[in-house]
Amino acid sequence: MRGYLRGSNSQRQPRTAIQVSWFETRGVAALLTMRDYPTLILRRREAPSRRMKARYFTNAGPPMAFYFVQFLTGLASAASLFLVASGLSIIFGVTRIVNFAHGAFYMLGAYVAFTLTERFAGALGFWGGIVAAALVVAVVGVLVEMVLLRRIYHAPELFQLLATFGLTLMVQDIVVMIWGPDDLLGRRAPGFKGAVDFFGQNIPSYDLFLIGLSPVVLGILWLLFQRTRWGVLVRAATQDRDMVAALGVNQKWLFTSVFALGVFLAALGGALQIPRDAVHHALDLRIIVEVFVVVVIGGLGSIIGAFVAAVLVSELNAFGILIFPKISIILVFLVMAVVLIVRPWGLFGKPEAAARRTPGLTVNPWRPLTSAERLMSVGALALAAMLPLFAGNYALTVGSEIAIFVIFAASLHFLMSVGGLASFGHAAYFGLGAYGVAFLAKAAGLPMIVSLLLGPVLGLLGAAVFGFFAVQLSGVYFAMLTLAFAQIVWSIAFQWVSVTGGDNGILGVWPDKWAAGPAAFYWLSLAIAAFAVVVLRVIVFSPFGFALRATRDSPLRSEAIGINGKRVQWTAFVIAGTVAGIGGALFAYLKGSVFPDSLGISLSVDALVMVLLGGVETVSGAVIGAIVFKAANIWLVSQTDLSKLVLGGFIVLMVVAFPKGIVGTLETIWNRRRSTEDKKSALATSRVEVAE
């Protein structure tokens, strides 16, 4: 399965720089006292020329100077990160929206700046172009805020994250449409073209410029917030939006201007990267995951926090590569874990204000299926089981894939709607299950049945480790943390080539003979999917399921009746991760191979969209959503080159127009029809609104 993030048309370079790593390979670069060398290897997939080698390997300096230069490189990398993270933080502080599209604005800033700096000559052309690019993108941001965000300020944060992610997808395709799929190498900054010699180590002077820039930006922001009337309003709104509105401040204008400033900072961060880095259409996801890590460590809403954490993360990157050359991300992960245990709201953050309604909290009290519904479900399953009688091999393969995604979506749905925990990185456990199978089948040579049973254990272990940290948080922090964890797992799969095969994946994971035929495999997938859904439903109605719902409904009350909410949620996380791992295990056999893709963000978001499409607040939503989404996705990819644009637009539309999803919308229509027939019964089934 090639995610839509990657683009499926062959003109695009396959597996482009998104895999270069979420943290820049800058650490390695510095190790070799050059910057672009490994990036080029990974991105261009070609060996460096002899001239390049000669240029980059010759000057090895004394160790102390080397460490110092390494330190400076980290500081320079922190500049862009700080700009983008502070923008995200400012926007969150006032609007309470975690703007996933922030990475897209960063990328747009880089592209627009590329065009402008190419077009206008001279120092003025360059620096003017950088600033103009940030301004242009800020105007785009204002349009986005007015057209889209204003409609979803009061939606649950999950919907806001998804809508802005949809936007990100659209921008990815638009960028390729305008600037093409190839990497663009921008001009070097006038006046900062050379390098400064430091005991035989070269430091690009542009890096020094960036190092000086971030404290300046920090100071300007500080002055802006402390010394201007607008800044006072923003700080007041950050503390209490409603009070500021009650005092007669025009909220719309305030929100729009704050969003414009945040986008400006992101775009500036992107524009300033041109002299250091190639511009390409996967910049957005790379930066956004780094930024999420930064704000989780620094604390959402805190600019100082963004600054300190940006420096911390960049330095950890720069030095992590020296300690764990293969999997440098582990160091950042460890630091993030420690920060979360000691200060769950980040180094400079404050505890989140009372959480908004979690998705799933406005449901009718759940009930087991009636006997008629049960009969219908069995009938539908029997019908599905008859598919091999009249469908060809391709349809059966698609059918197997859909069944696998039903498992995946159902596991996420369980976590989201019953547990109230919207994970943005659920694919991690799906992918771990797939890798588990691949290790067992390829390395240990175990038979299929054993691998299928043991493979998901890797998903279970991953969910146990990451889930332990994730459930310490809630709301947007939970979403960002799960996303970051998933990206860490992805990076390990990508970087640890000797074990995982890296980008080339693990090939030749074929099913045993008994399950090799399309029909046999389809039946196997269908049976496991049905089993998984039934098991999850049983758990929903078990005492544990009720304890989980209790924790979601009222943490205060559940604690007061002896429920250890964190442990209950952790258990739910492990259950969901294990079931996802089962899906992943089957997926590995379906494809005969495993790639880092099956841990990627795009897959996590696919699952979220499936759940949302079916309806978060319904019991059967995940199943319907998975079937419709997967079928539509496969069809869409075969029909258009702009599948990301279409899918992104679709996500945005769905969040704004049909937040209840297919099943939820049908239920509403059904209820409305009944209410005209029988007002009294409609009253009894009316939606339960929760007063906080």
Partner: protein, 263 residues
């Protein structure tokens, strides 16, 4: 009287925030079957006191002994396991469940079945839940979604939930806040009856002096973090310091009480 065991013993409890002494060296005891009211003007330290008893807040110094166990540093859920039921000023229930399920969850927890993945909650302790709901007069609402209940009914449901672990002590934070006058009296009568029958100690905070003077066996008066009076309703009502703090609220009570008696 000395034969009745002490449920709760609070000794020199103190807590301050920065320079503000929210609670200063507060000591009192509560016996089984006794109904004890904790009153005082806003900011007197009632809620801080309550949160420390409940485990949501940790005192700076002092001792809390509940059923012979030191509870300081224990989590609310651990204190619940010792036999403490609790209701909140603003009701905390599970809005997406039915009334019966709300009580069943508490019973599941009491029966240590929280991590039972396979059983059916619907069948779990169904009768026991029904009995508790009957006790608080909510038997007829068992299958109603909790989110649809009127506020007074939610308060009664909370009481049923609080009774699920067969508590020895009930902590009720403003149990009648936000209720209509008639509902208040009914709820407190119900609470008092259950407490006497099952020999449960009750500690409650309250702003409504009618409720306090009618139902409390003993009253503690807090002002600016310190305990300024303690005794029977009559003693407390006669205390000039208390009268001063409440600016003659006792008179208002008397007038209303006479009116009510005349009707």
């Amino acid at each position: 009287m000395s034969m009745v065991p002490t449920l709760l013993k609070v000794e020199a409890l103190s807590k301050s925030y920065g320079g503000v002494h929210a609670v200063r060296a507060v000591s009192f005891e509560l016996r089984a079957g006794e109904i004890l009211a904790l009153i005082g003007p806003n900011g007197a330290g009632k809620s801080t006191c309550f949160d420390m008893l409940n485990g949501q807040n940790t005192p700076d110094s002092g001792r809390i002994t509940l059923l012979g166990e030191d509870t300081i540093g224990r989590k609310p859920r651990a204190i619940w396991r010792l036999g403490v039921g609790r209701t909140f000023q603003i009701t905390a229930t599970f809005p997406t469940m039915t009334v019966r399920e709300n009580v069943q969850v508490a019973l599941v927890s009491y029966g240590r079945q929280l991590f039972n993945l396979w059983g059916s909650t619907a069948k779990f302790a169904r009768d026991e839940a029904g009995r508790l709901l009957d006790l608080v007069g909510m038997g007829g609402y068992a299958e109603r979604p909790c989110g649809e209940l009127a506020y007074g009914d939610l308060k009664r449901l909370e009481l049923a939930i609080a009774l699920a672990n067969q508590p020895r002590l009930l902590l009720m934070d403003e149990p009648t806040a936000g209720m209509a006058p008639r509902e208040r009296i009914e709820l407190m009568r119900l609470t008092a009856r259950i407490a006497r029958e099952q020999s449960i100690g009750v500690l409650f905070t309250e702003h409504d002096m009618d409720v306090v003077f009618e139902h409390a066996d003993r009253i503690l008066v807090l002002n600016r973090g310190s305990l300024i009076a303690e005794g029977s309703p009559e003693e407390v009502r006669g205390n000039p310091q208390v009268r001063a703090i409440y600016l003659g609220e006792g008179l208002v009570y008397d007038a209303r009480h006479r009116e009510g008696a005349g009707a």
